[in-house]
Subunit: 155 residues, 2 copies
């Protein structure tokens, strides 16, 4: 799982056109202000343990949201963050699970842009040192994660 977290003045999207893997019944157009935009690519290796990468991703998103005191989260599928993607079915399952678990905390307003659609978007990144963070998450918890090379950039 690759995550790119952007502390955003605003994020807006509008679905334009289906790809062959388009999710049915999407929210076609939406947006948020004062949000954490979570660009997300689900990777092939994640299919070894989707529940685990979902749990780790939710923990990362919550950690960042807490640091930034952000209540608005927009999950945005972003295939371009990886060159080794999961199946579309696994991606939709993982993205939906991340959305649901964040919602269940009751601490956030959560939205999710649709998977498999070409989308317009407008984004404003705040630009402070913690406003852009990327994470690579792989299946396996604790020490195992380190071995498999967890990579964090703050720049």
């Amino acid at each position: 799982m690759r995550l790119l977290l952007i502390h955003s003045d605003y994020i807006e999207y509008e679905a334009q056109k289906k790809t062959k893997m388009a999710e049915a019944d999407p929210v076609p157009k939406d947006g948020m202000t004062e949000a954490l935009t979570v660009f997300t690519a689900v990777e092939a290796v994640d299919e070894e343990d989707i529940d685990d990468v979902v749990a780790q991703s939710v923990a990362e998103i919550e950690k960042t949201a807490t640091q930034l005191a952000v209540k608005n989260l927009l999950i945005y599928p972003y295939a371009h963050l990886s060159s080794d993607l999961s199946s579309p079915e696994a991606a939709v399952a993982a993205l939906s699970a991340i959305e649901r678990r964040l919602n269940e905390t009751g601490r956030y307003e959560v939205k999710r842009a649709p998977f498999g659609w070409y989308k317009k978007f407008k984004l404003s990144c705040k630009g402070h040192p913690l406003s852009e963070l990327s994470k690579t998450i792989v299946p396996g918890a604790g020490a195992a994660v380190k071995e498999k090379k967890e990579v964090t950039h703050e720049f």
Copy 2:
């Protein structure tokens, strides 16, 4: 080299704060409309042959600019596209060389956002099927490139 090419209604940036690898004398604030934004990460493997990856990157950027009939190019350093970055020196050399070679064609207006600065940015992605393209470029031309796995996503 990882490239993420976004056909943009507008791209604007404003440098906010230096990192320890900040480029000196940057253009602190700039932007373009009707532009191809070229988010770029220079990778460790690129140091094996910077000239070659620069030449391949320039060719890719020109191919996309031609397809989209875009004359405005903004090169934007984006470390978050890779988990295996080159040295800062190699990155600045590669980014500057891409900028210079595109300028030398005389076909484009070219700008480059500074390396090693935290930056605000605002971006509007057009959302048509060719408006977001990513490429992974590795040293080695022609057949060698294929063997080393050149990956292109249109989605």
